[in-house]
Symmetry: C2
Subunit: 229 residues, 2 copies
DNA sequence: GAGTGGTCTAGACCACGGC
DNA sequence: CCGTGGTCTAGACCACTCC
């Protein structure tokens, strides 16, 4: 009794094994369903159920007519959990925003530690666009700015999480930015300017304050939207 | 062309619909595979692939001989992503610990805001056990203490994330605590004491410092372990 | 046209849980 | 014993991709 593992775990373990032993690299093709069926002595049914699981975990990707490929899309699988939670009314966008604040605060601290001249230049360019660009360019710059901080944190898991969270609330954020009045655009520019300054001057404490302010602003906007804007 | 959705999305949408309309509640049974097969005019194959996906997302649970049930196990699906990332060497326990620090810092801030007498009493009891209990009880108290903070944050998504992260690194943490020398136990007690005090006195800034110290300690221990303890 | 994923047919047997 | 999930058989056809 006890561990009567479901058959498809064999497939999952087999693929994980191949991946671990580097017999397949990311982007590489895994054996076809018919092959796996013979190799592992399973029906095509069971093989496909296993592949569906792996696809869901973001380990493989099925491409019609081509095959199944080893990929690294675990972020997508995180997004689907978050959007499902919102769908199931277990959480809302403000909860999600709180998580984003937590992530970005941490990322910011790490990014400050890892700053160098090249990174500073890149961020400076983004801030410039944010100040002088068209409204559309500003929104893009906002996205790039936050993405840069996450990237410079050097923590892949944090980046994965943040991307997943951002993906889920992307539409909400865009909506907020598109409808921001000029008064708020000024606040927004100021906050990002501050975040930038403290990043290059390596003054994390003050920078964190700006990050907090940034997310409080979003939180207020979300609150307004909840109340039927 | 374009959106030739895979057949099993019909099943997923159907179940999501039933859940949204509250025709099935959490813990309730969804139609059997044979029923779904007829209702949606699909083969049992496709139905099962869909159910496998839903199971992976933590939406349903299959119970042999009983049926498929609507559940809320999305945290598990998060855990599997994190452990998969570690398996695939995309991240390590220290990255994960950084995420935990980010989560707990945020949770701590929220918990301070939402403190009340009853909660204070509960935490006081945990701290007492931590100080006077056996080593095993202390480890349990540590777990309870952090869980309480997360719970009192009032953010379900944050709790879900934290639980998932903790599940993945539970063994590592337990190992660290079990092997802590008395010298370190003192530091550990002091940090938790400080976190507790600042929680009841509603002094978040100082409390956060203690949280940081707490995670830096874990980080150091993890570093030691990496270097082949 | 060959190979591959996506889906279906029309059954079947086993293992498990509840009555 | 019946209903249910877990698995299998031994095929089949379609749609897609690549050559």
């Amino acid at each position: 009794m006890a561990e009567t593992q479901k058959a498809y775990f064999q497939v999952i373990d087999y693929i994980k094994q191949l991946a671990k032993e580097q017999k397949i690299v990311f982007g590489g093709k895994i054996p076809s369903e018919r092959e796996l069926m013979e190799t592992l002595e399973l029906s095509r049914n069971s093989v496909r159920e296993a592949l569906r699981s792996l696809e869901n975990m973001g380990i493989i990707e099925s491409r019609h007519g081509k095959g199944n490929f080893l990929v690294n899309h675990m972020g997508r699988s995180l997004s689907s959990v978050f959007s499902m939670m919102i769908f199931m009314k277990q959480s809302d966008y403000r909860d999600l925003n709180t998580l984003r604040r937590a992530m970005e605060t941490q990322a910011y601290l790490l990014a400050v530690e890892r700053m160098d001249e090249e990174k500073k230049k890149k961020i400076a360019a983004i801030i410039k666009t944010m100040k002088n660009g068209s409204h559309k360019e500003q929104i893009q710059a906002d996205h790039d700015f936050h993405r840069a901080i996450i990237e410079y944190s050097g923590n892949q898991m944090l980046a994965l999480m943040m991307d997943a969270l951002s993906e889920v609330c992307e539409d909400e954020i865009t909506l907020i930015l598109e409808n921001a009045t000029t008064e708020y655009v000024d606040i927004w520019l100021e906050v990002h300017g501050k975040m930038y300054e403290c990043l290059v001057d390596e003054k994390p404490e003050e920078g964190i304050e700006a990050v907090m302010k940034h997310y409080e602003w979003i939180d207020n906007e979300l609150k307004k939207m909840e109340n039927g804007f």
